[in-house]
Assembly symmetry: C2
Amino acid sequence: MEVGLVVVILFASFICTRSEFIVYNTSQGIVPSKLNVHLVPHSHDDVGWLKTVDQYYVGANNSIRGACVQNVLDSVIQALLADKSRKFVYVEQAFFQRWWRQQSETVHRAVKQLVSLGQLEFINGGMCMHDEATPHYIDMIDQTTLGHQFIKQEFGQTPRIGWQIDSFGHSAVQAYLLGAELGFDSLFFARIDYQDRAKRKDEKTLEVVWQGSKSLGSSSQIFTGIFPRHYDPPDGFTFELNEESLLVQDNILLFDYNVQERVNDFVAAALSQANVTRTNHIMWTMGTDFRYQYANTWFRQMDKLIHYVNKDGRVNALYSTPSIYTDAKYETNESWPVKSNDFFPYANQENAYWTGYFTSRPAFKGYVRMMSSYYLAARQLEFFKGRNSSGPHTDTLADALSIVQHHDAISGTQRQHVADDYAKRLAMGYLEAEELVASSLACLAESKANTGCGNIATKFQQCPLLNISYCPPSEVALSHGKSLVIIVYNPLGWKRDDVIRIPVISELVTVRDSRGRAIESQLLPLSNSSVGIRNYHVRAYLGKFPSDAPKYWLAFSASAPPLGFNTYVVSIGDRAGASSTRSTVYTSEVGENGTIEVGRGNLKLNYSLEKGKLTQYVNSRSLVNSFIEQSYSFYAGNDGSDRDSQASGAYIFLPNGSFPIKSEAQAPLTVLRGPVLDEVHQHINPWIYQITRVYNEKEHAEIEFTVGPIPVDDGIGKEVVTQITTAMKTNRTFYTDSNGRDFVKRIRDYRSDWDLQVNQPVAGNYYPINLGIYLEDNKMELSVLVDRSVGGSSSVDGQIELMLHRRLLHDDHRGVGEVLDEKICFHDECTGLTIKGNFFIRIDPIGEGAKWRRKVGQEIYSPFLVAFAEQDGDNWTSSHIPTFSGMDISYSLPDNVAMITLQELEDGKVLLRLAHLYEIGEDEDLSTKASVELKKLFPNKEISRVTEMSLSANQERAEMEKKRLRWKTEASKEETKVVRGGPVDPVKLTVELGPMEIRTFIINFSSIFFPHEVDS
Amino acid sequence: MEVGLVVVILFASFICTRSEFIVYNTSQGIVPSKLNVHLVPHSHDDVGWLKTVDQYYVGANNSIRGACVQNVLDSVIQALLADKSRKFVYVEQAFFQRWWRQQSETVHRAVKQLVSLGQLEFINGGMCMHDEATPHYIDMIDQTTLGHQFIKQEFGQTPRIGWQIDSFGHSAVQAYLLGAELGFDSLFFARIDYQDRAKRKDEKTLEVVWQGSKSLGSSSQIFTGIFPRHYDPPDGFTFELNEESLLVQDNILLFDYNVQERVNDFVAAALSQANVTRTNHIMWTMGTDFRYQYANTWFRQMDKLIHYVNKDGRVNALYSTPSIYTDAKYETNESWPVKSNDFFPYANQENAYWTGYFTSRPAFKGYVRMMSSYYLAARQLEFFKGRNSSGPHTDTLADALSIVQHHDAISGTQRQHVADDYAKRLAMGYLEAEELVASSLACLAESKANTGCGNIATKFQQCPLLNISYCPPSEVALSHGKSLVIIVYNPLGWKRDDVIRIPVISELVTVRDSRGRAIESQLLPLSNSSVGIRNYHVRAYLGKFPSDAPKYWLAFSASAPPLGFNTYVVSIGDRAGASSTRSTVYTSEVGENGTIEVGRGNLKLNYSLEKGKLTQYVNSRSLVNSFIEQSYSFYAGNDGSDRDSQASGAYIFLPNGSFPIKSEAQAPLTVLRGPVLDEVHQHINPWIYQITRVYNEKEHAEIEFTVGPIPVDDGIGKEVVTQITTAMKTNRTFYTDSNGRDFVKRIRDYRSDWDLQVNQPVAGNYYPINLGIYLEDNKMELSVLVDRSVGGSSSVDGQIELMLHRRLLHDDHRGVGEVLDEKICFHDECTGLTIKGNFFIRIDPIGEGAKWRRKVGQEIYSPFLVAFAEQDGDNWTSSHIPTFSGMDISYSLPDNVAMITLQELEDGKVLLRLAHLYEIGEDEDLSTKASVELKKLFPNKEISRVTEMSLSANQERAEMEKKRLRWKTEASKEETKVVRGGPVDPVKLTVELGPMEIRTFIINFSSIFFPHEVDS
C-alpha cells in the first residue's frame, strides 16, 4: 500500500470542457428576501438498537439491518473534502470516537480542517443521543461531558445545538440543563404528541422558546424547534444508495431528463413547510437512520437541487447546519412563544402512547442505576487514591454508562442481544471499576495514598449480586480468630447512617465498630423465596452452583462520614450479650382477625390480619395518621388483533383491561421483628413476593418486590403495577420528577398546551419516574421514591401507581421487531425474567415532604459502597486506618447541596459539580441560596485556581454566557426573580448555589493531597 | 462549489500514530512457491435488463432494483486513488462512456493515470457484454469496435481479455473471432452446462485452450477459463454495502474480533478451488451484478484479507486482474487441453436448458437484424457522401445497435419496459440514419458528392414499416405527369437482382428502369390478413389511422451494381402493354383432390389439394426431387407447477408436450401466379397465416409466416414451431451457424466433450440459428435460412424445426421476474403480439448447398435499401444520375468475399473489413484463397496507406501478432494447414483472404473521391 498522499479529485469541479460536465453552484448563502430552505445533511446513528453499537459501527450482522457507521463517516468526509460548500452535522460521539481512533494522522488533519471550516459540525455531542424519560440527570450530564470533552480536546470545539431528534418525548431537564446550561443555542427534535403537533402546525408554534425550569426561569431558556413531521427529508428527497426517490436527471443526452419537475417538487415542499413555520427560514433534515452510507448519493443530488432551485429562483436553497439555521432565526428578531414543562407523554397516534418504555426491561434499568451510582463513588475513590495512568480506571465503566443512556438502551427498546451487549459492557466496566475501588479503599485504609498505592496488601471484595442474596465474602464460615472486615463507603457529602444487610452463614455473630465496640445487629432468616432466586440465578448467570445458602441476613446500622468510610468487623459471637439478635418471627393464620402493628420507631404500619394487607400509616412524631392500602394488579397488554393492529410492546403501553391481583388466602403475613428493623413478608401470589421493611430509625417504609416470572400461558401479555392508595383528595393532580431532578406538576387527562382529547385514559396519563412521584392535598403529601426508572401515574385521586414489570407477547411495530419477553435460561430451559426492586413510601404533613424526597432520594441513588476483607487475628487495626473522609473532618455539605461529580481528570485537574437539590419554593428552609466552602472539600490541598465551566465543562461559564443568544419571547407575565450563585471569590473560594442550580468547576491544585483520618 | 483541487486522504495509509490505525500491506505480488489467490475486483453491469441502461446508469427506478452504475464508477475511482495496490477491471463501455462524458478534465487526468498504472483495466471493452447466441457476428464486431475505439482514443489501450462471464452459453465465433482475432490473450466466463462443469472440475479442465474455428485452426486459439461456480466471490466473501458476509473485524477494542476465523475461511475457500484448478494460480471474481456501488466496502475488506492472509502465509493473496492472472498462467508453461466447437446449449440443471431465449421476442430480434443491415448500408452511403461533422450520422444507430447486442437485450430476456427502451433507441438511431441515407442518396443522385451536399433538393422517403404493408410514399395516387421514383441501393459487393415489393393503390401502373424502358411487373392483391395487420399496427404504433389500404403489392425484379444503386420509376400505366400484370388467383375447394404445382422457373413446389399442404420439392435444373412437408405445432410451456417449479420462460425452454397445429379444412390454398412470382397463401389456423413465394428467377422457396396473437385463454403458454420434413437419412446430425458465420456440426442427444445424460430430449437439442440450419444425407442437403435469430433443431432425422414465436404465462426464475407475454395495445386493449417473418428453404444436391447458403445468406442479411421520391414530369433524369456504384464499374467482389464494414472514420480515414464467406472444405470452388483489389474498391481515390488492424481496429495486426501469447496444448493430432492471406503489397494493394478469414484495414487516402455513374 502506498504511503503518501494522492491528489484526489473533485467529482464536480474544475474547468468545464465537455458538454456533459456540469459545474454546480452550491455556494449559496442566505438570501434575506427569499424563503430560505436550509438543507441540513445528517445521519441518525443509534448507539445500539437492532444491532449492537459495534455491529452498527463495523457493519456486521447486516442480516438484521444493513447499517455501517464506518461507511457513513468515511464517505461523508470524502464528500465534504470534494466540495467546500457541503456541510454535515454529526451527533453520536460513541461512533465518531470509534472511527477517529482508526484514522491516520493525515485523516485527522483533514477532518480537523473540515471542522474548523464549519463543514463538519458536531451537534448534541454526547456519546449518544440519550433517552429523555428513563436516564438519571447525572448520567445525562456524564455522557454528554464525555462526548464534549473529546470534541474539545481533539477539535477545540463546543457544540451549540441540542439534537434530540428521535427520543420519545422530551424532558424539562433536557431543555434547561442538558440544553441551556450546556451553552446550547437551540434544541431540535421530531417526536411530540400528535395532537400537540397538529395544533402547533396550525398556530405556527412548532418553534418556541422553551423554559424548562421553574427555578432557573428565563436564565435557562432555549430556542426549540420541533420538526413538522419527522427527522427525515420531505417525501421524495431521500437519496440514500438504492433509495426510490426520483433522482435529478440533468444529463440531456440520457433519457428521463427531469430538472424542472424536481425543482417544482422542491418548491412545493418548501412552500408547504413555510406554511407552518414562522420567518423565511425552514430546515430540511436531509438524512435519517444510518443514512449516508455512501454520502455521495446524497450530496450529488443536493448539489443539483441547490444549483437548479436557485437558478429557478422562487426559493433559496443552501447547504446549512442547525447552527446556521439558528443564527438565521435569531437574526430575524422574531418573538417566539414560550413553552414550559415538558413534552411527556408522547403519542404518535390515538392508541399509541409511548409510555411502556418507561418500565420496559426493569432489571436492566435497575442495573444501569446501580452502575451509575457506583461510577460516581468510584470516581471519588479514584481521585482520593490518585488517578493512575496505567489503570485500572473508571473509564471503561464511564464509556459503557454513556452508551446505555442511548434512547434505545436504557429505554429498554432494543433487541435482546443488544440488551445483553449493553449489560456486558456495564459488567466489563464494573469489573475494572471494582478493581479500582478495591485498590483505592485498600490504599486509603493502608494510608498509602500519599506514598503510592503500588504495593498495597489488602484485597477487598465486593458483592454486586447482593440483590440475589449472593455475597461470597460475607458467606464465609468465621472461626475464632478470623473475622470479616466491612468497609462502608459513603459517596454523599453528608455524614450518614444506614442499615447494612449482608448474608451470613453463622447464627452467632457479633458486629463491632471501628473502635472495637460491639454494636446492635439483627439476624433475619432468608426466606425460601430469596434462597430459590439466589440458587437459580447464580447458576444461570455465573454457571456454577453456589455454596450452601446462607441462612440469615445480618443487619446493622452503619455510619460513615461525608465522602468517607468507616469500618465494621463481624466475628463469631463468643459472648452471648454481644451477639446479634435473631428476629422474632410471627406468621399470621388464615382467617385470623384484628390488626398487627409493625415498626418500633416513629413509623408504624398497621396490617389487617383478615385481609392480610396494609391498612394504616402512622407517624407518631409528625402525627400523620392515614388510611393506606397497597395492592397489585396487571394490565392485559393489547395484542394488536383489533382494528388498529396496535399491540402493547417495548415502546407502547396499550392496556386491554386491568385485573387486580388478590393476595391469596394461603399466603398470610409473616412478620420479622428485631432491634434494627421489622419486616413484613407477603407471598402475594405464586409470582409476586413482597417484603416491607420498617427501620427503627427511619420514617419511611421500604418495599422490596419480587415480581416474576409473569405467567403468559394464557396468551396474554401482562404489565404488572402496584397501587398505593390513600383517601387523599388530590384533584387529579400529581407530581413526577424530570430525570431525577425537578418535579413537574401533572394533571390527569389534561395538557397545558392543548385541549386534550382523551383516548387512552390509563396510558395517556403515565409519566416517567426516576426519583419519585408524590401527591398532596391540603393536609398531607404521599411520596413514593423508586430505585430505578419506572412508569407511574395517579389514575385515581389519592392513589399512586407504579408499573414494575412488563412481559408482552407482541411487537408494537415501532421498529424493534422483537417481542418484549425477557427470559432467563439455564440449560436451555427458559422462564420469564423475575424482577426484584425497591420503592419507598412516606406520608408527610403538607409542606414537609420535599426534605425527605430530596435527602432520601440521594441516599437511594447513592447507597453505601460496601467492601469486604478477611481479618486474621487483630492485625487490621495495626495496619489500617478504620475511618476516612475525603473532606475536612469538620465539614459537611449543606443539606440542600449534593456533590454530583468529583473526578480527577487526565491532566491532574479536578472536575467538581455541585448541585442545589431544591427547587424554588419547594421547601421553606432549603429552597434558599446555599454555599459550599471549596477549601473544606479539599483539605490538605492547595487550590490554585477555580474555573467555573459550562455544565459539560467544555468551556468557561463566563465565555458561554457571553455568547448565549437571548431570544425575544411573546411572554409578558412577570417572572419570579431567578436566584443564582454569584462569582466565586478567588480568595474565599465559597461557591453559592441558588435553587436547582448546578455549578461545574475545574479546580487546579498546587500541593499534594494527604488522606485524612476521621474520628467517628 | 469550490473550483480547484483538494488534497484527499488515504483512508488506509500514512504513518501509524495510534494503536487502532492499521497500515495494511496490500502490495503483494505473485509468490511462485505458493498458491496465489488472484483477487479480481469487478462489477458486472448489465447494459439494460430489469431497468433501462440509463436507469441503471443514473440509479433511477430503484423500486425495481437498487442499482446505479454512476456510483460504481465514482466510488471505484476514489478507492483506486486511495491505494495504488488496488485494482479494478471495467467492462461495459456503454456505461463507462456515459460516466466519462460527465467528468471534469481533472477526473479525466486522474483516471488516465490509473489506467496507465494498470490499476484500472478495461477488459472485453465492447459497449456491452454481448449475447453469444442471438447476435450476428457483424453486430458483435461493430459493438466491440465501438468500445475499443473509445478505449484506444481516450486511453491508448487495447484490451487483452475476453470477459463473457454472464452470457448464456458461448459461441465458437466468440472464441476465435471476438477473442483471438481481437488480440485477446484469454477469455473467461461462468456459464456452461452443469454436466460439463462437473466433469471439468473433476478432470481439472475448467481451463483450456479453445480453438473455435475449423478453418483458422491453431492460428486463432485462445486460453479460456471457466469459473468453478459463478462470477461472484466464494461464499462469504461478497462485500457490497449492506451485504451479510462476515466482515473482517480487526479492531481489538471492539467486540467480535475475528481475524483468524476469516483467514481460515479464506484459506479453506482457496484450497477448495485449487483442488479443481491446474497450476498454483486461482482467480476469485470479487464482484457481481452492479456491485461496488460504494467500492470502499469491498476494498476495505480485501485490504484486510490480503494483509492478514499473507501474514498467515499459507496461501498468497494479491490484488490482480485477468491480465495478470493470464500472464501468470502462461508463465507456468503448463500444457492445456484443447477445446473445439462451442458451449451450446447451456443448462444449469436437469430441467433448465437456456434455449428459449434463442427465440424470445422474435419481433425485437427481427428489428435488430433489420437495423444491423441498415447500419451497414448507411455507413457505406455516409462514406460515399463524405462524413459531415454536423450530422446527421449513423452514430446514434451505432450506439443503439451496440447496446442491443447485450446479453439481456437481443436475447429477449429483459423486462418489457426495457425492451421498449431498446426499440426506442433503435428507432431514434434509425431516424437519424434514415435522414443521412436520404441525403446521401440525394447527394449521389444529384452528383454533388464532390461539391458538397449542403444544398440538395431531392427528398427521399423510406418505408421501415413495409413489413406491415405500410409505405406512404408508394401509396400515393399517381396521376399523369406524376410518378414514383424508386432508388434501389445494393449494399453487397456484387451486382445483384432481387424482387422489390411495394404496396400501391392503383391497379394500372408501369415500372420503368433507369433508361426509361418498361419492365415486367406484377400486382398481387393484398390479403385481408395483411390489411388487418396493417391497419391495427399503424394505429397502435403511429397513433393514426392509415389512409385507405393499398389494394396491391407491386412486384418487379430490380437490379443494382455492387455498392451502388439503380433507379426505377412507377407511373400510371397509360399503355395496356406496359402495365404491370395482375396475378391470377386460384383458390382451392374444400375436398378437392389432386395436386397443384407452383413456380414457373427451375423450382416447382407441389401441393396436395386434399391435405392443403406442400408435398414435393422439384428443381428441374439440379434434378432434385424430394418429398417435403411443412407443418406447424406448438410446445406447451411448462408452468412450473411440478416438483421442480421450473417454468418455460424468457430464458428457459421447458416443453410440457408437443401439439400439432392442423391446417383447418375451411382454409384451403390460395395460389397467386404471375410473371415475377407465385404465391401460396395458407390460413393455417385463426392465428397462423403463411405465404410461400416462389420467384421465377430464384431456386428457393420463401415462406412468410404471420404467427399470433397466440391464444392463451386455456392457461397454457405456447411456443410455436414449424417443421420442414423430408425423408432424408440424417443420422441425428445437423448443422447450425455460429452467429451467422461458421457452421457447427450438431448431433442429437450427444456432446463431444462429455457423455451426455439426456433429460430434455427437445430443449436439450436446440441451438441458436442466425444464418441457417441444414441437414445432409448422401444425396441432398436441406437448408433453411432465417431472417433473424431463432432457436432450431432437428428432433427427427430428415426434419428441421424452427421456433418462431413464444408466448408464456410464467416467469422462469432466472432473474427477469416478468412473464414473457408480449402484447400490443391500442386504447388500453391489449392482445398478444403477432410476428411476421421469413425463412427460406432450399434443397441441393450434396455438396452444392453452401453456395446458396452463403450467397443468399448475404442477400437476406442485406436486402436492397429502397428509397422513394416523387417525380413531376420528366425532370428526374435531367437533374439526377440514375445509377451509381461505389466501386470501379468493372469490378465486383469475388463470390467468396463480402465487405462487412466500409466506414469513414472521424479523421477521414476509412475502416474496411473484408470477410471470406466460406469455411475450409465447405465448397469445392469457393473454400479457396480469395483476393480483393483495393484500388478497385476505391476508384478515383488515391490510397496512400493501408494498415492491417486487429478485428476491432484498435491496434496494428502485426503488433498484435507479435504480442500474442502462444499456449502449450495437450493436442497431438496433426492439424490441417491454416490458409491465411499474406501481407498486402503496398503497390499492388491486393488483399488475400483464406477461408473464414476476416481482415480489417485502416485506409488513408490522398485524393478526393468522385462518385461514378454506372451503366446498368
